[in-house]
Subunit: 153 residues, 2 copies
């Protein structure tokens, strides 16, 4: 069971070298959702703003962390199936990705399907905001699988 | 002017810390397109396959590199505006992203718009294949801007 920000951060750093290279850290988990941050120093692009690839990676991690927490099962194989991203404004400071808790009804269905079938999918939304405006939006479909060879990255 | 794989790799590593952390390297550029690779060691996930965030970052870099090469202008500000990704199969070995040269007609229009207006957009496709099947597909819209504050990451 992964249940607090420090534990999830440690797990990400142990298991995913890029999470460590980005210095990604889960800041908080709660009823409002999950917040994960990464410093600009390790994540800028050729223009001095946040690199789109770092943003994509941080959003992907936000989804993983949300689902491990939601399932309460570290051994669940969580993979991403598809994603869409929109980059509206540059991120100029610390990268801060927020993944709101999924709708309670959807989450219940997801947990029930996972418990029954050992496999379930869910769509998560992640945003990066700065100066009170959404800079980047991410939508990802994730699949959780129990006791199977992983299907994707 | 960035014109060969080693120069583009050096430029990426100097300007984008994550490209260096991933050990991303442009392998070839030619009529068939651009190939950029990254070793599994720095880019695996919690399941031992390629991390979706690394794949997203590598595909994003492939698009940047393709456009710098296509424009022949290192000072062009190339940014990503949106992306869609599909993860069909896990990548289990070296990550190898291929960005085919855009259609010649589309590329001509893109170059002409950039020369005339100082701003142009183009859609690029990138795939990661393994064992002769497409594991991941990426479609990204990029914008090239001359002499302006960067708009996005």
């Amino acid at each position: 069971m992964i249940s607090n920000p420090a534990d999830i951060t440690r797990f990400l750093h142990e298991k995913i070298p890029l999470a460590r290279a980005m210095d990604a850290r889960v800041e908080s988990i709660g009823a409002k959702g999950l917040v994960i941050t990464a410093p600009m120093k390790a994540n800028h692009n050729h223009l001095g703003t946040a690199f789109g690839g770092s943003i994509a990676a941080l959003a992907t991690l936000a989804g993983y962390a949300m689902l491990w927490q939601a399932l309460g099962d570290r051994d669940a194989h969580v993979v991403i199936r598809d994603s869409q991203m929109g980059f509206r404004h540059p991120v100029t400071g610390t990268l801060r990705a927020v993944c709101p808790q999924p709708d309670e009804t959807e989450l219940k269905k997801f947990r029930a399907r996972f418990a029954r079938a050992g496999k379930a999918r869910i769509t998560l939304r992640v945003t990066l905001e700065e100066n009170e405006r959404v800079c980047v939006s991410f939508t990802g479909t994730y699949v959780a699988i129990r006791g199977m060879t992983p299907l994707s990255g």
